[in-house]
Symmetry: C2
Subunit: 501 residues, 2 copies
C-alpha cells in the first residue's frame, strides 16, 4: 500500500482544454508529424520486431512506406511479422539486401519477393503461420511485437480506429481489421497510420483508443481496388465454375446441408464461386445458413441481404461490397483473428463451422494439402486460415483442378505440407471426387446421392495418364522457409530451389 | 522448435457433430448442469478470489445465488471483488459470519451489509475502488480473479454473451456489460450464468466466446426493474430540480458549452436531472453534443434520438430505456470499464470529457468530495466513476443540497475523501455556487454570466448559520474500509463508527 500524493499520478495536471484540442495521452499528443518522427518516438531500434496487417492485400501502401522511413533512419536487422505479404511488397527485397530486414514471419508471401526468398535471399528461413497460429503466437508471447504499424481507414485523434467510417466515405476503406486487432492488443507500441482523421469518438471502432500510442496522418494508406486482387477475384474460368458446381453438389449431399448450417469459402476462384451454386440449392430446399465465417465476399453479402445467411463473422473483407456491408449491415460483424481461429483460446469460431471450401496447389494421397509452394517448389501462396478451418470444420472440402498447366494436382507426397490430411475430408476436382477414408460417413452420403466418388488414387492415376508423373523438384540443402502448424509445431520446411544450369 | 505430431494438439479429434450440438471446447461441453457443479469444475477453492458485475444493480440475483452454492459446498475464506454491491446483497452478512467470505473489494456497498461492515463485521477492511481504478487493478494484476461469475441476459452455447439480445426480448436485459467485460478478459475462469440461451452466434456480443469457460442456465438472473433503483431514479424532488437547473446554467456559462461538447451525468437525482434543463439551452443555442459518456439514462437517450447528442458511450445502462437504446441505436455504443476510465491505459474516455456533473454526500473547503460514507460515518454509497470523471473532465461540477436533513453538506474536512479537491471545479447547491480557486477561468466566466458565485467558505457559513456546526463523528480505532484512489494509492480510510451507549 502506498499513500495518495496530491498532484501525483493520474490527477496531476488537470486538462482544461476543450474537446477538440484533447489528443493528449499522459501529457503527450498522440498525433505525430510524420513516419520518421514516430519511429523514433516509439523507440524502434536495431533487431526489434515490427508488425503490419494485410487488409489492403495488394493495395497496401503502409509496409513499403514504413520500411523506407526505417531505412532512411539507418535502423537495421528488423524482424517483420506482418499478417501476410503480397506482390506489392517486392521493395522488401532491397531492404533485405541492405540489412534493414533480417527475418520475416508471415502467413504468406507472393510475387518477386517470394521468388527471391525461395532462391535463398535470406540468411534465416521465413516462418509461415496460419492466421489462427499467428494469433496464438502473439497472444502467448511466442511473437513479441515491439512496434505495430497499422494502416487504418478511419481514426479519431485519440486512436479509435476502424476499417471504414460511418462518418464519411473512407477513401481507403478495407472493412474488417480482424488481423490488426490482435496486434493492437499485444504490441508494446501501437502506431496507427491513417489518411482519414475524423471527429471523436469514431464509433464503432475496430481498434480502441486505449491500445493506441501514436497516430500519423499520411496522404494515402492504400488502394481499395487492390483488396480484390488475385486470390479473391470473382472467377469466370469455366473449369473453376465446374469445380464450384461439383463442390455445391457435395455440400448438398454431405448430410450437413440443413437449416442453420454454417459455412466458409476460402480464397481462390472455385472456392469463392461455390456460393453461387449453393444459393440455388438453398432456395430450392428452403434452407438458410446460420452464419458465414472468415474472409467475406460480395457474394456472401448478397446471400445475407437476401436473407439466406443470417449472420456474417468477418475477419477480413475480400472485396468492396463486403467492406460496404460491414459498415451498413447490423449482422455483418467484425471479429479478430484470435476469435476466428486461435486454437488455444476458449473457443474460436472455426470450431463452429459445418462446411469449409478451400483451395489447394497440391494434395497428396494422404490428403495433406500444400497452399504455399507452386509445382516448381517456389513460394507463391499463403497459409491463411487453411489449416485452421480444416481442423475446425465438420466437413472440409478441398477444391482443385485435377491438372494445372501440365502438372497434376495430386501427388504421392505434397512438396510442402500446410494442412495435415486427417483434417481434410473431401477433394473435389473437375474430373471427380475423392473422400478421405477417415470419413466413411461422408463417402456413404455422397455415393447415396450418386456423385462421382472414386478413391484419390484413382483420381491421381487419371491425371498421371494425361500428363505423366512429374519430375521431383530439385532442391538445395538450404532451408528458406519453416511451416508452422497452427499449434506452433513445425509441420514442414521449404528448401531453396536448385537452379537449372 | 518442436515437430508436428499427427493427431496431436488442436487437430487431434476432428469434431464431426452438426453445428447445433457443438458446444465443446477442448473436448468439453461448456454448458454445465448447475451452479454447484460449475463451481467444482472451475476449481474454486478456499481463499480464492471471485468476481461479479453489478449491471443489474438492485435487481441482481447472481451474487446471492452463487454464494449460496459456494456455502453449500463448504468452500471458505473467499475474496469477493464485485464491481459493486447494493441493498439486495444483504445475505452476504451471513456468509461473512460463517466464514465463506473473508474479504471484500468493491466500488460501493449499500444497505444493511454496508451498515454491518461499518459496525465492524469484518476482520479485514473492505477496499473501495473507482470503476477506472478497478479496471486498472485487474489489468495490471493487482486484483487476480480466480473465477468470474457473470450474469448475462443473452448467451449462445459457445459463450458469446450480451446484456440484451437482438434475437429475442431478453427477460433480464441490463444493457451494457461494461464492467463484466474486464472480468471476462482477465479472470482465470469465466463462468457465465444466463436465463436466455440463444442460437449461435449471438452477435453483437459484449463478451466473446474466446474468453468463456463455462455456461450455466438458471431460471432467472435478475429483475430488470431493479436496475433503475435509488441512485439512478428520475427525480421529482423540487430541490433536486432547482439544483439541476443551476447546474445547467453553470454549464451554459462555463465556456465549454459549444457545439460538439461532451458530457456525463453521474448517478443521483440532481445530477441526472441536469440533462433536461440543458436540453432547452441546446435547442435555443443550436448546440449539439458530440457524445455522452458513462452511465446512460433514458433522458440522455431521448436527447440522442432527437439528434442533440450524436453518440453515446455506454459503460452501464441506468434504466430500461437505455437498455433498449443500446440494442437499437447504432451510435449507442457499449464500452468496457478500462476504455471508460482506466488511468493506466493509453487513453480512457473520461479524458475526453468536457463536462461532468457529479453528486456528493459531503464536500469540504478544499473541494474534496465524499460519496461513500453518510453524515453518520456509515458506509452507504459507491466510489463509482466519481474520481475518474472528475480527474478527466475539463469541468467537474458537483451538485448537492446545501443542507441535507439537519446536516450541512460543506465541512471543514470531509469524513472520507473519495475524490481529491484539485479535480473538482465547481460546487452547485440550491443556495449558491462556489468555484475552486484553482479555476479562476471558470469563476470569471460564471461571474460574467451573473450567476450567484460565492466562496465555498461563504456557502458553508450560510449552512452553518441554519443548522450549526455538526458534531464530529465518533469512531473506534478499527479500520473497516480503505479507499483507494484510481491510481491505486490509499487516499483515505473508513473507521468503525462508535455506538452510542
Amino acid at each position: 500500500m502506498r499513500p495518495y500524493q496530491k498532484y501525483s499520478g493520474a490527477g496531476k495536471a488537470k486538462n482544461r482544454q476543450r474537446l477538440k484540442e484533447r489528443q493528449v495521452c499522459q501529457n503527450r499528443n498522440k498525433i505525430v508529424d510524420n513516419l520518421e518522427k514516430v519511429i523514433l518516438e516509439a523507440g524502434l531500434k536495431d533487431g526489434m520486431t515490427i508488425s503490419f496487417h494485410h487488409h489492403f492485400r495488394n493495395g497496401d501502401y503502409v509496409v513499403n512506406m514504413v520500411l523506407d522511413a526505417v531505412a532512411k533512419l539507418g535502423i537495421k536487422d528488423l524482424v517483420l511479422v506482418p499478417s501476410s505479404l503480397t506482390d506489392i511488397h517486392a521493395p522488401i527485397i532491397e531492404h533485405i539486401k541492405n540489412g534493414v530486414v533480417r527475418r520475416i514471419e508471415s502467413s504468406g508471401i507472393r510475387g518477386t519477393l517470394a521468388a527471391a526468398i525461395s532462391d535463398g535471399l535470406m540468411d534465416i528461413p521465413v516462418i509461415i503461420r496460419s492466421h489462427g497460429g499467428r494469433a496464438r503466437a502473439i497472444s502467448c508471447g511466442e511473437i513479441h511485437i515491439d512496434v505495430a504499424f497499422l494502416g487504418v481507414p478511419s481514426c479519431d485523434a485519440y486512436g479509435n480506429a476502424n476499417g471504414y467510417s460511418r462518418e464519411n466515405v473512407a477513401a481507403s476503406a478495407c472493412g474488417s481489421l480482424g488481423y490488426a486487432k490482435v496486434d493492437a492488443q499485444y504490441a508494446d507500441h501501437v502506431v496507427l497510420i491513417t489518411d482519414n482523421l475524423i471527429e471523436y469518438p469514431n464509433v464503432p471502432f475496430g481498434i480502441p483508443q486505449s491500445q493506441v500510442h501514436y497516430i500519423v496522418k499520411v496522404d494515402k494508406i492504400g488502394d481499395p481496388n487492390g483488396i480484390m486482387s488475385g486470390a479473391t477475384r470473382f472467377t469466370k474460368n469455366p473449369r473453376d465454375l465446374l469445380i464450384a458446381r461439383h463442390a455445391a453438389d457435395v455440400i448438398e449431399a454431405s448430410g450437413y446441408f440443413e437449416d442453420g448450417f454454417s459455412m466458409q469459402t476460402g480464397s481462390g476462384g472455385a472456392s469463392l464461386a461455390t456460393t453461387r451454386f449453393l444459393k440455388d440449392k438453398m432456395i430450392a430446399k428452403n434452407i438458410r445458413a446460420g452464419f458465414a465465417l472468415g474472409g467475406i465476399t460480395g457474394q456472401i453479402v448478397s446471400l445475407h441481404e437476401e436473407g439466406l445467411i443470417r449472420k456474417l463473422l468477418d475477419v477480413q473483407s475480400f472485396d468492396l461490397k463486403a467492406v460496404e456491408s460491414l459498415k451498413n449491415n447490423r449482422y455483418h460483424y467484425q471479429i479478430d483473428a484470435s476469435y476466428y481461429a486461435n486454437p488455444d483460446n476458449e473457443g474460436s469460431a472455426v470450431n463452429q463451422l459445418d462446411i469449409v471450401v478451400l483451395s489447394a496447389l497440391e494434395i497428396d494421397l494422404d490428403f495433406n494439402v500444400n497452399v504455399i509452394t507452386g509445382s516448381d517448389g517456389v513460394i507463391r501462396g499463403a497459409s491463411g486460415g487453411h489449416s485452421d478451418t480444416a481442423a475446425g470444420a465438420s466437413v472440409t472440402v478441398v477444391v482443385a483442378p485435377l491438372i494445372r498447366g501440365r502438372m497434376p494436382t495430386i501427388l504421392d507426397k505434397v512438396n510442402t505440407i500446410v494442412t495435415p490430411g486427417h483434417t481434410v475430408d473431401i477433394l473435389v476436382t473437375d474430373q471427380g471426387i475423392a473422400v478421405n477414408p477417415l470419413r466413411e460417413d461422408l463417402a456413404y452420403n455422397l455415393k447415396a446421392a450418386k456423385l462421382p466418388v472414386s478413391s484419390i488414387e484413382e483420381l491421381k492415376a487419371k491425371a498421371d495418364r494425361v500428363v505423366g508423373k512429374p519430375e521431383p523438384i530439385k532442391v538445395e540443402d538450404k532451408i528458406v522457409g519453416i511451416v508452422n502448424y497452427r499449434d506452433g509445431s513445425v509441420i514442414d520446411v521449404i528448401r531453396q530451389v536448385k537452379k537449372e544450369r
